[in-house]
Amino acid sequence: MHIPDGFLNTATAAATYVVSAGGVGYSIKEANKKLGEKHVPLMGVMGAFIFAAQMLNFPVMGGTSGHLIGGALAAILLGPWAGALIMTCVLIVQALVFQDGGITALGANVFNMALLACFAGYYLYRAVVSLMGENRTGTLVGGFVGAWASVFVAAIACAIELALSGRVPLGVALPAMAGVHALIGIGEGLITAVVLSFVMATRADLLQLQKV
């Protein structure tokens, strides 16, 4: 759901740019405060990790394949602000190098897929874990729910932005985006849960990292 250039009107593009710039600026400050000078190499390598993880495809249906998006995973492992910062870097590289998402729409894409996705994913995960207890089941269910929601809210925000720009009526964009991404979210949720299960089995200490 990377929005290309030309899909947003000037007002929506500018408004989302302002909000995203503020959010990313704050996330840099948070990362710097909590991780010190270590945040630069850590965030950079983690950005490369998400980027590389997105290269791994899994079959979806009818011969198509999907891949992990990773916003919720990054947020659950490293915290919502760190996750948002990492996803912003991934989105910048995707826009500049692969034209996946436009430059004028970068603000909107960062808002949807970095800020909203990471915060929705992280806090839903926390909510489920606090309901079901800090055990294997709680972590896996929380990971699934958080990852599913991260995709779903990003898609809804994307539909609303397109509608606000007067490009697509909300009645068309919302059901289309929400429907497709409710399905995509299942794959994201399953993969995220498996990753968390694997990390728990091999390096459980990495799930207890300081959250940024």
Binding site: M1, H2, I3, P4, D5, G6, F7, T10, V24, G25, I28, E37, V40, P41, L42, M43, G44, V45, G47, A48, F49, F51, A52, A53, M55, L56, F58, M61, L68, L73, C89, V90, I92, V93, L96, V97, F98, Q99, D100, G102, I103, T104, L162, R167, V168, P169, V172, A173, A176, M177, I191, T192, A193, V194, V195, S197, F198, V199, T202, L206
Partner: protein, 264 residues
């Protein structure tokens, strides 16, 4: 891993490649903004924008077919979101067809909205392909930094660029190992599909642990060499006469296209 994985053709040598990265970044931004504010019915303006880009692509010695193929990246989004728009509009209808049992009407207004999104996203993608195929990524980052993008962001992006190659190599090795062990079944339904998802999840988990440990080692090595949170680099960026000339000519071309649009 091939070095050109990220910025293919950026090591060619042409007039465009020799410009200062900032000239190319600013020109690309100006172009995309100009396209963004052009009204959708300004047909000749879009044609002229395309001619301008095509001329620069030829001048930069990029293979036209490669550029065209890469610009198709905007299509999935258009197909998913926008392709229904012409059938939903209310305004003046341009035509109405019977497709099997449905009566399909195309609205003029809807077609215009679709055209607006399609042409603008495509032209912008072409401009960005021109930028990323003529600018090496480290130069692009250096240019962005000198143009005022926060230094921390640029530093994180440089680290990311550095390690994308390492980790992408790692992913390719893991994928090869999986495939040679029969990790990809032909039947992809039910349990087999779940098994493949579990395999990919475990691979990503391994990749995360390796990446995190690598980040720790990298940081340790940096601290051992006196890292204090600042990265000091030499920056030899300099606007030369060619940059001023290109910038002026490019802005003049954009203004001319704007003028033609206003007049007609």
């Amino acid at each position: 891993m091939k070095h050109s994985f990220i910025d293919k053709y950026s090591d060619l040598d042409s007039f465009i490649h020799r410009l200062d990265p900032r000239t190319r970044i600013l020109s690309t931004l100006a172009f995309i903004l100009a396209v963004m504010v052009t009204p959708p019915t300004a047909w000749e303006a879009f044609a002229l924008y395309f001619v301008l880009l095509a001329a620069l692509i030829i001048l930069a010695q990029l293979p036209p077919l490669y550029v065209l193929k890469r610009s198709s990246v905007v299509l999935p989004f258009v197909l998913m979101v926008a392709v229904f728009v012409p059938f939903m509009g209310h305004g003046e209808m341009t035509g109405s067809y019977n497709v099997w049992v449905w009566r399909v009407s195309l609205s003029h207004e809807g077609l215009l909205v679709l055209w607006n999104m399609l042409v603008k996203s495509w032209l912008s993608a072409l401009a960005l392909i021109l930028l990323s195929s003529t600018t090496r990524f480290p130069d692009l980052l250096k240019g962005l930094e000198r143009l005022g993008v926060p230094r921390v962001m640029v530093m994180i992006l440089s680290f990311m660029y550095r390690y994308i190659f390492v980790l992408a190599d790692e992913v390719m090795r893991m994928r090869r190992a999986r495939d040679s062990r029969g990790g990809l079944g032909t039947r992809v339904w039910g349990r087999e599909q779940l098994r493949q998802i579990r395999t990919v999840g475990n691979m990503i988990g391994t990749l995360f642990i390796r990446s995190y440990e690598r980040a720790e080692r990298v940081y340790g090595a940096m601290v051992a060499r006196g890292f204090d949170g600042q990265v000091r680099t030499l920056s030899a960026l300099r606007f030369r006469r060619a940059d001023w000339g290109f910038g002026a000519a490019f802005c003049a071309a954009l203004l001319l296209i704007g003028l033609i649009t206003v007049i007609s």
